[in-house]
Structure formats: structure tokens, C-alpha cells
Amino acid sequence: MAEILEISPEILSSIKDFDWAIKTFAQGASYGKRQSRKVGTGMEFSQYRPYSQGDDLRQLDWKMYARSDKFYIKQSEVETHLSVTFIIDNSLSMKYKENSLVKMDVAKLLTGVLAYVAMQNGDRIGVAGKPGIPIGYGDRHWDRFLHYLFELDYSRAFIEPTLQNIRDKELFVVLTDMYEDRKEWQQFVKSLNSRKNEVILFHLLGQIEKNLKIDGATTFTDLESGKRLQADPDLLNKSYQKKMDGWISELREEFRASGIDYHQVDYTTPLYEIVNNFLNHRKQLL
């Protein structure tokens, strides 16, 4: 069990394993249980309407008040279907490998886990892309979803992920390394955000990617352009870390100001840690 809670590359060698790993993982960590609405550890996005005089005060959503300083009434517990669309950055920079963990693989795994959890909670899942997987649910849909996820390959250029018509409440989960030339990801992610939709952004970075703790002179190659660069990390890492931290806080500010749930995640940490932290954080929000 422990191995599955950690990430190992072998898991991703076949769809069956992938499938099994995600399910076992999710179930093993008790994410998959059907939760009652009231407890709500899923990615719920309850429907509210603004309070108007005369409403039943018992139905006030205090959490929402805490969040927004406005009074809202929770609607009745009609199972509201949430559409969760996953958007995975498949640019070549995602091929980054650290500790024999490829960022893209972890992104896929994370997507799988979150998608499964969402599905177990009655939400619909889909993947953006060409062609992508349209929002849906059910076993067959899950198989298609997983297949697509598994087969997803790298692409050279940034292709703005195609989205379906937005109808229901949409939750977008974006997984990316945020390496961009002209802020294309930032713009895209912000464009997703609206009053109806929510956006969760996983900014995936490795440890060495952040702290540049490499011993000895190093040749760096750019995964996207192939450019090479020689540098001495010992001399660079302090200023590099500063830049990194600055960049991350900048992004955090930008996104959170827009109401986007930004999470900078060390993708090399065990998956259960990542998911736990995320869900706990979400719990606090609700």
C-alpha cells in the first residue's frame, strides 16, 4: 500500500495500472467514499442565492459570509452537478524530470486522482484539448477519460485548450509549470475565471527547479528550445532562488487577486501529501 501512496514511475506504465493505482490510491486514502453533502470534502461548489429579507436564517451560509462578507442562503441539497474540466499543460517543459519523476506523469496522476474523487462525488469530469474529453460521467466515460489522459503526449507550442460551451458551474483545474514566453498561461487562466466558474491552478515545480542545489558546474538544456547554457549553480543559486520566489509570489498575488485558487506544489513530494494538503486547504475555504 505504501508504495502506491508514494509515486513510482512503474505505475504509469500501463493504463490498467494507472487506473488501478488511482482508484486504489483514492479509495485507500478514503477520498473515494461518497461523502454526504453536509460534510463536503469534495470540490463542492454549492449554489447560493443572495439573502433577501424574510429568508430562513438557519439556511444562512456562514462560511460564505466569512468568505465574502455577504449573506447568502444555501439552496436545498439538491445534488448540484459540478463540471470539472482538467487542463493539463502538455508543453515540452513538462517533460522535466527530477528524482526520476517526470512532471507530466505526476500531473497525469494527480489529475486522475482528483478526477476520480470528483466522479465519486457525483461531479462530471472532462479534459480540455484537441479533441479532449467532453464532460461526462460513468464507467465508460471514466475509461475514455483515463485513456485520453494516459495517451496524452507533448506538444511543441502552446495551444489554447479548447473548451466546451460553458453551461453548468464549471470548475477548472489547471496543471502547469507556468513556464511561458508571453504570459499566455496567465492570460488563459484568468480568462477562465468568472463569477460562475472557479479555477484551481496547480503550479508544479520540482525541488531542484526551485533551489538550484546542484553540485558543480552544470550544462542546462532547455526542454522546449534545446538551448544550452553552462553555469555554476553554486554561484547562481542564491539569486536564482530569489528570482523563483519572487516569481511565485507574483503569480500567487496575481491569481489570488483574481480569485483563482493558486497552489504552488512540489511535485516530487508524495502524491498523498499533495492531495491531502490541497483538500485540507479547500476545506478551509468552504
Binding site: 517543459s93 513538462m94 517533460k95 522535466y96 524530470k97 512532471k103 509549470d177 513556464y179 531542484i208 527547479e209 546542484i214 553540485d215 558543480g216 558546474a217 552544470t218 550544462t219 542546462f220 538544456t221 532547455d222 526542454l223 522546449e224 538551448k227 547554457l229 553552462q230 553555469a231 555554476d232 553554486d234 554561484l235 547562481l236 539569486s239 536564482y240 528570482k243 523563483m244 516569481w247
Partner: protein, 382 residues
């Protein structure tokens, strides 16, 4: 001049390869890693990379310099004190006027330190008194110290008296080898007499050894070069010339009858001999024009008499050679220039100064450089 007490220590210079090799090896990077983006590496990187390279090269040179210094310390570098050449005065016999060693000396010494001896004796516009007597070198300029003089001359020191004589304890004589050229003339027919002449030219004059074939009688003549002629020699020549029989004179017109084997010597430039005529061995036909223009002393009939004649003989000898009458055998001996000056260093006093070991100085410099190197490396990694 650089010298080492322990020259084998210079093998330590091989250590210069160590920083070099380390530097070259470290140039090949240890790691290669693929990054999603080089964006955050780029700005500081270019600066750092350039400064790595610059620093590296300077550090490398610094380290190599340190190795060199350490090698010098091991090899015990010796520094010579200043050679106070300007205090040494060289008095040089003009017999060495074309000598390479003396030329080198005059080129490398400070002005006012080389004086030509005239006629073997000091003669200066400066105050050394010339005497015609045998009391030579009795007075030197007051400010000249005997110890700062070096005389370079081959001949006369043995006869000197006065402050520069051996008796007075002066021992700074250098006698350089004199270039010598030998000429031989196998045989000249003069009438019934055959004369074997062998001439050998030195810088001071020409020795002519001749013998009459029939009788085997041998004679020698020495011809001083004009500049060189000592006062004594002048007297000898004069007396020799005066002993020449008046009948030996041949007028100019009669020279046309001179046979090939006559010796003609040009005396144009000899004071006191302007009106004398000397016959020079050579081809009279080619020398016709010269004969007409110069005062010549014909000594063909006097050839068995001692006569010392002044001439600019080398020129004439060249003519003899050109006329095919003399075989030119060049026996010039000249020692290498450095040999001449090794001998000057044997003198005590101002020429030879103590060689100091430069070790302590080098240690200080090496220490400073080592500290600098460490500081630079430390500063770079902060």
C-alpha cells in the same frame, strides 16, 4: 642577470601544469540537466558565466604565478646587485679597435667609461699627462681611483712604471687575443734571387718573414700600423730609413722598369717620409696610376736590409691578394665575446657584487598572492 643557486629546483616549474589541468578539467561540466525553462538562469547567468570565465582565467594565471614563485624559491633565485659599470673605466689599446669584444664593451658600458690608449699609452683630452719618456702613467686624474681602472692591452704593461705598473700593484690588465691573419707568398723571383716571404698581419702591424732562397738567410720585418706606432717605434723607423742607401732610390719614371717582384709601400701618410719612395710588391701594371700619384720608396734593392716602414699595409695586401701574389690564409682567432668578460668579473671591488638570495622577497610576494587567491575565491562564492 638572473641566476639560481639551486637550479634543479626549476623542475618545480612543472607544477604549473597542476592548476592548468585542474582548470581545463573543471571546464567540462559535471552535470547536465534538462530544465523546463532557462529564463531564471539567463540574466544572472550571462553575467556570472562571463565573470566565471574571467575570474577563472585570472585565478588560473594567479595560481600559475604562485607556482612559478614557489619554484623560484625552491631554486633559490639570486639577484645580483647593481653592477656599477659607470665607475669602472676601461683603458683600451687601439690594437683592439676592430675587436668584437671591445665593440661590445663600448656599446654596453656607460658613456665616459671607455678610453682608447694612444700608442699604447693613455691619451685623453682629459687630464692624463703624456710623457715621451719611459715614465708612463705617472699621473692619473685626481678623481680616478686606481681600483676602478681596467687596462686592456696586449703588449706594454710589462714595461710600465708608475701607478699602473705591476710593481705598484696594479693588476687589472686584460690581454685579449689579437686577431691574426697569415699570408704566405711562396716564392718571388727577383732577378737571380728567389725570396720566400711569409707575412702575418696582426692588428698592430705586419710581420714579414723573408728569406733568400739561395743563402737561406732569414729576416723579419715588422710594420706598425700608423695609429699604433709608438714614439720609440717612430725613432726606429726613422733611423732605419736614414740608413737606406741613397742609391736605392728610384725615381718615379724608372718605376716602369720595375719588375713584378718589387715591394712598393705607400708612405704618403707617414710624417717624415713624404719624399721617399718605396716599391711595393705587386703587379706594376695595375698599380701604374697609383705609382704615379704617390710617393714611393723602392726598397727592392734594399730588401735585405732592415727597414721599418709605415704603411697602410692591409690595403696593399689586399692588392697583393687580388693580384694573386699572396695566398690569403685567414687564421683569425677570436674567443667568444663572453669569455672576455668573464675575466673582468674576476676583479674584486666594484665589478663583482654579492649575489643575494631573493628568497625572502619571493616568500612575501607568494604569500600575498596566495591570500589574494583565497580571498577572490571566497568572495565569489558568497
Amino acid at each position: 642577470m638572473i641566476s639560481f643557486a639551486n637550479i634543479l629546483g626549476l623542475f618545480a616549474l612543472a607544477g604549473i601544469l597542476v592548476p592548468l589541468i585542474v582548470h581545463l578539467l573543471s571546464k567540462r561540466t559535471k552535470n547536465t540537466i534538462a530544465f523546463g525553462s532557462l529564463k531564471f538562469l539567463e540574466d544572472t547567468e550571462t553575467k556570472t558565466l562571463r565573470s566565471i570565465q574571467l575570474n577563472d582565467i585570472w585565478l588560473l594565471l594567479l595560481r600559475m604565478l604562485i607556482v612559478v614563485l614557489l619554484a623560484f624559491i625552491v631554486a633559490d633565485l639570486l639577484l645580483e646587485g647593481q653592477e656599477q659599470k659607470s665607475e669602472v673605466k676601461y683603458l683600451v689599446d687601439p690594437v683592439y679597435r676592430d675587436n668584437l669584444a671591445i665593440k661590445y664593451l663600448s656599446d654596453t658600458t656607460a658613456p665616459g667609461s671607455l678610453f682608447w690608449l694612444s700608442n699604447g699609452y693613455p691619451s685623453f683630452s682629459d687630464p692624463v699627462e703624456k710623457t715621451q719618456s719611459a715614465d708612463f702613467y705617472q699621473k692619473l686624474p685626481a678623481e680616478w681611483e686606481k681600483d676602478s681602472l681596467i687596462v686592456i692591452s696586449p703588449f706594454f704593461y710589462k714595461d710600465l712604471i708608475g701607478p699602473l705598473s705591476i710593481e705598484s700593484g696594479f693588476n687589472r690588465w686584460i690581454s685579449l687575443p689579437v686577431d691574426e691573419r697569415k699570408y704566405s707568398l711562396s716564392q718571388i723571383k727577383k732577378g737571380d734571387s728567389a725570396i720566400n716571404i711569409e707575412a702575418s698581419e696582426s692588428e698592430s702591424g705586419l710581420f714579414v718573414d723573408y728569406s733568400i732562397a739561395d743563402s737561406g738567410e732569414k729576416k723579419q720585418m715588422f710594420y706598425f700600423f700608423q695609429d699604433y706606432l709608438p714614439a720609440e717605434g717612430q725613432k726606429i723607423i726613422q733611423s732605419a730609413l736614414s740608413a737606406i742607401d741613397q742609391n736605392s732610390w728610384i725615381t718615379l719614371e724608372e718605376t716602369k722598369k720595375i719588375e713584378e717582384s718589387d715591394l712598393i709601400i705607400d708612405t704618403t701618410f707617414t710624417p717624415g717620409f713624404e719624399n721617399k719612395k718605396i716599391v711595393v710588391l705587386g703587379d706594376p701594371v695595375t698599380q701604374q696610376s697609383e705609382i704615379i700619384n704617390k710617393n714611393l720608396m723602392i726598397i727592392s734593392k734594399q730588401i735585405d736590409k732592415e727597414s721599418a716602414l709605415v704603411s697602410s699595409l692591409p690595403v696593399h695586401l689586399e692588392r697583393f691578394i687580388a693580384a694573386g701574389l699572396l695566398d690569403y690564409r685567414n687564421d683569425i682567432r677570436s674567443a667568444p665575446v663572453s669569455e672576455y668578460f668573464i675575466s673582468t668579473r674576476k676583479f674584486n671591488g666594484r665589478l663583482n657584487t654579492e649575489k643575494q638570495s631573493a628568497d625572502s622577497l619571493l616568500w612575501w610576494i607568494a604569500l600575498v598572492l596566495l591570500l589574494t587567491e583565497r580571498i577572490i575565491v571566497a568572495w565569489r562564492t558568497i
